[in-house]
Subunit: 287 residues, 4 copies
């Protein structure tokens, strides 16, 4: 593990909750497919795997515990990648099902969507104040680091309130997720607005960023310009470039690796990421 200042954590989000094989035939859906994809991304250098699972029959968004367990088992057996389990696999899922995967499987990180908002044109993405408070304490109890997903400015305030209450513990780690209608748009300017505000309100925080869809590359460049951490993958964006589907999440990992190399930086190894984020629960069988 060399100088951590020169390392960028790269999260790969291979599957997500929404894209279907009809959207891209290359998206991994089953635990076996997703785990194999994660293994390849890890071989290519990814630091963290952000994991969603799908309903085994409909392949739609799901918090199916068994699917999480299967995916995690294969990944842990074959890699030392940092595991990050979503708590937001679908809309309208009961609190207990959202929390069970991290409570039982003890990943090092879980996503923490820090507020409520409209989701695109069709739904409400609910994360009530009461749920967030409960979630924060549950993550502390499970030694899981919250990846605080920020879709809009007010969520940075919510995080500050939760820190004050003790439900979150600093230094916090933010993931700025922009480009979902209902939250902020995926522009470099918006990323800077969020990063400036988070750094002001949460001194000592760390952060990563991603733009959903067309804003993916501009937001990645803007984040790189400030040494922010990065996330790529089919959860956020199916296209490798205009008019061309990515045939594997590995393509995104490799592009990011090349871009970081051009500016004389490296992707953080899983252990680098553990050191940067001060993670616990490293349950990989590879170490």
């Amino acid at each position: 593990m060399s100088d951590l200042k020169n390392k960028t954590i790269l999260t790969v989000a291979c599957t997500g909750a929404w894209p279907k094989k009809e959207d891209s035939p290359y998206i991994p859906i089953t635990p076996q497919e997703e785990a194999e994809e994660i293994i390849k991304c890890w071989e290519a250098g990814a630091s963290i795997a952000h994991i969603h699972v799908r309903d085994p029959e409909t392949f739609g968004a799901s918090m199916n515990f068994d699917q999480f367990a299967k995916t995690v088992e294969i990944v842990r057996a074959n890699t030392d990648i940092v595991i990050n389990l979503t708590t937001s696999g679908g809309l309208g899922v009961p609190d207990e099902l959202r929390m069970k995967p991290f409570q039982e499987l003890k990943p090092e990180i879980s996503s923490f969507d820090c507020g409520t908002m409209n989701w695109q044109d069709n739904a409400i993405f609910e994360n009530s104040p009461q749920f967030l408070e409960k979630l924060g304490y549950a993550m502390q109890e499970a030694d899981v680091k919250p990846e605080i997903e920020i879709f809009d400015m007010g969520m940075i305030e919510n995080a500050a309130r939760l820190v004050k209450k003790g439900a979150l513990v600093g230094p916090v780690h933010f993931q700025f997720v922009i480009g979902v209608l209902g939250g902020m748009a995926a522009t470099p300017e918006n990323l800077f607005t969020l990063a400036d505000y988070a750094e002001k309100l949460h001194p000592g925080c760390t952060w990563g960023a991603l733009g959903v869809g067309r804003g993916h590359l501009p937001v990645m460049l803007a984040a790189m310009s400030r040494n922010g951490h990065l996330r790529v993958g089919m959860e956020d964006n199916l296209l490798f470039k205009k008019g061309q589907l990515a045939t594997s999440n590995v393509e995104f990992v490799e592009r990011t690796k090349r871009m970081l190399a051009e500016i004389d930086r490296e992707i953080a190894s899983p252990d680098d990421a553990r050191a940067i984020l001060n993670l616990k629960n490293c349950n990989t069988k590879k170490k």
Copy 2:
């Protein structure tokens, strides 16, 4: 009606959904009380009355139609103030009840809360994409101008989407409401972030602003510095100054009038506001 460039629209929000007599004995609650307060604010120069009503028995937040009808009747009989009826009198109210007051009573303006967010520490303030689209068309049909309340950056995106769909029609009018946990905090810097973004995404828009609670005066000064329109009243802030309850909403109106006079501006008369915002439905009996 003289030069409109020199006029600032002042909305008074006398009652709101939440404060109780226990919080301030001076808050008007019944239709009679609220209407009398509005009449006095109009005499003091207010341009617009933003009206909430309360449940006649519990005095809690309500969309009780009869209470709206009673309040409006008295106000119209005694003033030519512009009437702005809330569509957000309480949480969890069915869509139809939220819309009925403006559909039946035909005010010139109604509030349009342009997204969903957590509300303080205890609830979700729901305005789903589907509701917002329905609401926009309903306001068009009723010739009611939407006062697009913006609590966070993403709501400005939502408004852009609704304009694109036709549910909102430009030039739009925004009310920046900051200081509610779940949305942005009530700081001058946040107001500028919102105003800059709204002016960029919605060229030709008009806007007003208010800070809830302690940020009330700093946000008012910041808005005045950019010639934004203003809102005052017990809905937003019960204190006239630190440690001192306002004994009437008129105190806020008069202070604002004095402050505008110091910078050689005037409160817009109701008719000035009608011209600035291009309002229809002027049903006052005073004209």
Copy 3:
């Protein structure tokens, strides 16, 4: 001296280098006139007098030492106002003449124009790196607090360099002077850009602001919204309002006092200002 957090330092700049009796018959030009004006502003509550003098024959910009001495003598004999002597009375003045007034007369504050820029359409306002370094050490030696005048973003960098070198000593005090062509324009947005940057680069700094000319009131409101300190006076602006000359600098002081009272703040007394800025050299005869 009560709670300093609630106090706003008000500097009055009665004369400046440029305006002539032809521009406004009310502008004080001679030491006697200026001192009398300062006395009246002090009686009205001003905290600090920023003093320029004029050539006794041409009434043009000048660093004439005797004129400074005469003005200061009268002011000290009659008030306890904080004295702030310019170091920029005209363009192209030799360094020694720019420094002599503060070196000999030992005011509590002197202006420190922290960089070079074009001045309007017609000249260069020179403050070379070498001069600034010399000036900083000279002020330290004379126990004079530099009022670091900032006309553009780069001057905040210059100040940081001088702090690093030891020529300036923190916590520094900035005066944002916007509205002079060659530097930034007098807009609320520009003031926020400067204040944000100064607060980031110079933690613990204090600052005041003024807009030259038409931007005077918008910049004052924007500064007030963030509890910045203020400067008024005929150096910056001859008009009390559109189309109406101020007949005395006292009018500006009194307006500012009224505006601060509306937001429940007070003008800092001279002694309050001494405490806020940690001043030495209090040589008034009134104490």
Copy 4:
């Protein structure tokens, strides 16, 4: 010439006014050396060559006309690269010598340093209002496009004034040069502040950016995130990466080309650049 929206203009500044062989043995100094370097950069894909010359004896900063003539002649004979001649080869050069190269040699572009500032710790970089006005008209007369170099916010105001006067003609082209002490620091945030302001004050403008020294790569990424044009070369930065001198300006061109390819963009050909910037005076012998 394909879709210009997908093209980024890359200027290479091989020599600059200041670096010496002692700083880097790889820097081209003589007309022959610089021209050969430009030819190689052109072969690698650079769009524009920004040219300085050195005194033939001291190798210091210079506006020596013959050196410009020699350099331009070789470049024009061997490439169709767009030629951009500096007007700022050294400090304290008489106006006529600064203008003669573009007046006589008729490049397509010349640099236009849009204000005066301190230069590092040791000098004033003078561009008085009078000089700028004269320079603007002289460039119009010579059909030379001004590359308006912006080191600080106030220079954007200066440009607006010159446009209003007619000395500059829109749509203007800016080069944001940050990282020189006296102007703004080379940070991504500062670049965004400048770009936001320029786009607001000069609708329809085009812009490029560069960070001097250590900020080179962060500023380049930030500019790329907003599809700004770019400049690289030893004038701005001698190091290819930390601790490693670039052995040729070509290294910078090739890195930029690779980085643009990763985001599915291309360097503009010289003819693309001519179309984007609407250039005249194409005097290359290669066409």
